[in-house]
Point group: C2
Chain length 273, copies 2
């Protein structure tokens, strides 16, 4: 039988103890929650040693023990986990996720009839990844988007409380709004960061003088160190919105320059004076 | 008669006490140089009060007093100043500048026969501007490009010593290499920063949720606060190289996404699964 942990706080199972899952485990444990983790044995050992989790569990054991399950694996794995949680019988626990795209997983939860699912996305992160990069403070002061869609009000309340417990600000919006905004504010900037670095590396002169770059370039290419495999899944799930954001960006590149600027022009205004 | 200041260090005249000129004045004064400033009276008063300069001067007085003149005004003003310094007779002082484009001003110095001119560009800065944003530490650990072209070896030595005195690393390269590298490492990123912010502000959904943006977006749009008027001059002087860097960036946007990615496609892969 499921019982809330200390001071009536639910036991939370976190599936995937990477940068986000690991940070959430640390922050919730510090906030007094009982946290159990699901991941590969070496990761669980490290998380136990760091006192980020009370115990490591199999998925089945974690789900039967916890009142809340947080899916913190990469997007495609989260979808598989969601399907696994929906059978053979509906779980009584609340389920949320921390994925960067909300439309796909929210639609899947509705298709599966999971009214205890509340989509979530903390707007926090770094270019680093894995449990080693996790930190208690990752979410402090950050927005944490929630995209309830057919979710029960008690499930939303439980997830809201988790978000507040780690110092983040819950922000409720429709999944489609999230995916549009994330395309402009997170996904397109990620691609731009890669493309800026690739452009500089691809030019023999710029590449030779890469060490001359100032803080602006470093800030704008910091995200380029983000894990590619994870991002491939994110980009594939939000393809249409990102294509829109990038098309707008390319238009904007034309407007941001001097009057009459054209990306294909090779006329050198500076030399004409 | 010109005499070196304390400990044999030259007196330096800085024309334009904005972010870069003001920071240079502070750093050189701290390093024991005598620095005189040329700017509008209120700026000179502030710089004197901050002990960034020993005295404010007219351009003519500064040039007759100093062994080194640093042009730290916007690019077009630097060109006008260079022409003013070349008449009625060649100045005996060393001249350098801190502009973001080197080809145009170096060519002008050669045309004017100014062998004491050494083009320079500190790879440091912030999105802020004006003397109020200046700081002693701005150049510490940064690269400072020098583009001697027909410059006398003693002039290059003097400018190198200034650069080292403020904690920067002199890096010598041809003006054309500088302008190519700067297009990829500084000028194109500046335009991208504006375009990313403009894209987000131009989309009604992204605009509404701008406050949800994480640290990545903030880093990538920090430069968007840079002064537009100054940048218009920079972009105009390096138009061809920047157009090349942006064209490469746009190509890169296509490659950075998932396989088969296209900027014009509106097919939503995520929704197809």
């Amino acid at each position: 039988m499921k019982r809330p942990s200390r001071q009536g706080r639910p036991t939370v199972a976190i599936v995937g103890l990477g940068l986000v899952g690991g940070s959430l485990a640390r922050a919730l444990t510090r906030a007094g929650y009982r946290v159990v983790g699901v991941d590969r044995p070496p990761v669980l050992r490290r998380a136990r040693a760091a006192r980020a989790i009370a115990a490591g569990r199999s998925l089945a054991a974690a789900v039967s023990e916890a009142q809340v399950v947080v899916l913190a694996a990469p997007p495609l794995a989260n979808l598989r986990l969601l399907r696994a949680l929906a059978r053979p019988r509906r779980p009584v626990c609340v389920i949320t996720d921390v994925g960067s795209v909300k439309g796909v997983i929210v639609a899947e939860a509705r298709r599966l009839g999971l009214e205890n699912f509340v989509g979530g996305h903390p707007m926090a992160g770094t270019e680093r990844s894995g449990f080693a990069a996790s930190s208690t403070a990752l979410f402090r002061g950050r927005s944490w988007i929630l995209t309830p869609s057919g979710s029960t009000p008690p499930a939303v309340r439980v997830v809201r409380a988790l978000v507040r417990a780690v110092g983040a600000r819950p922000l409720v919006m429709p999944p489609a709004d999230h995916d549009r905004a994330a395309a402009f504010l997170s996904h397109a900037p990620q691609i731009v960061s890669w493309a800026l670095l690739a452009g500089a590396l691809g030019d023999p002169v710029a590449r030779r003088y890469l060490r001359m770059a100032g803080p602006g370039f470093h800030d704008m290419t910091r995200l380029a160190a983000s894990p590619r495999a994870l991002w491939r899944e994110i980009l594939a799930q939000n393809h249409g919105e990102i294509a829109l954001a990038l098309a707008r960006l390319v238009e904007g590149l034309g407007h941001a320059g001097p009057k009459g600027w054209s990306l294909v022009s090779s006329r050198r205004r500076g030399a004409r004076r």
